[in-house]
Symmetry: C3
Subunit: 141 residues, 3 copies
């Protein structure tokens, strides 16, 4: 799959919680991590997102928030991956920050102000969080 | 309407699917394209989003994912517009990519890495996709 | 709390509207402003988001739309803060625009095209709007 979404997580649907407009889909990734996505019920049906189905979760880098003191807080964002910064690509306004968490590499776009105020640099511990509602799921046609 | 949202689609409400917290609103655009938005039920009521109402959909460029091999996959994002790249504006970290689809021009902000790995250039076929939950609807006061 | 989300609003939960998958949480800020967040019901429960609870709302700068003629329109985005531009940081593609509204300072990332077409400059009146579904809530662990 060729997409501009920097983050792509392959997994198997492990739970489906249906609602009137939106369904919450849980994906279990190869390393055992769990990822939540909220999609419209119509999409869940048309993609065949039932337990056992293979799916790919797409998350754009600007949708990811980095936190450096996550231990002291609880966040409503269902997806939280803790690890360490391994690379930074700095522009005039924004920086792409790559964080490893287990086997995953997660790319976030944050403002340069955030990089400076959080002291983000290679090796710094960070948690990447993103909302289930910002995840796009894909399946083979 | 003067907004910083690069993408603005005018249309008429053609369907409303109500939920407890969120409603799904379908807009039919001038060219016959259909666009889905998920808004809170309270917003749907206060904006008068009933079938036949005129509304404008606003979508920021960073919320759009570009896909170059969409034919092989199904995506949970309700809004998918296929066309071709017509312009690119490259910065140090991000690039603005404009895609035409029928009468529409859709602007996406993607990382430079994505531009390179997808081979995005003028004339390349691409599909712009975005979630219904990332669409803001507006009506005249 | 150390996060890359440029916008952070501290408040007290003043209303909870539960749904099957998502709950809508209203936060009242120190200055009396109201902010809406849509989070999964499971998150609302695990964070203890009941009326009276203290919580912090996180909103990334790219999720914010700026509008300069908001008076003539109604927007489905539940969160709307009117004020004036106080600072701009321009890059090759994107600009960070800071807007004050009462005691709040709100940072938005918009394309340079938007800055130019809206005439955004220090002192210009602008309304910052963002969807409830793009707000992340946090509480102390």
């Amino acid at each position: 799959m060729q997409t501009s979404a920097r983050n792509r997580f392959e997994g198997t649907v492990s739970a489906v919680k249906p609602g009137a407009v939106n369904d919450e889909i849980e994906l279990t990734l190869a390393g055992g991590e769990r990822l939540s996505a909220v999609v419209t019920h119509e999409s869940a049906v048309s993609l065949g997102l039932a337990v056992g189905a293979e799916a790919v979760a797409l998350v754009k880098a600007p949708w990811i928030v980095l936190v450096t003191d996550a231990a002291g807080y609880r966040f409503s964002a269902r997806n939280q991956f803790s690890g360490a910064v391994i690379a930074l690509t700095r522009g005039a306004v924004n920086t792409v920050v790559d964080v490893t968490s287990g086997d995953l590499v997660i790319s976030a776009v944050v403002t340069n102000d955030s990089v400076d105020s959080l002291g983000l640099a290679e090796g710094v511990a960070a948690t990447a969080i993103f909302k289930a509602s910002n995840v796009i799921l894909a399946t083979r046609a």
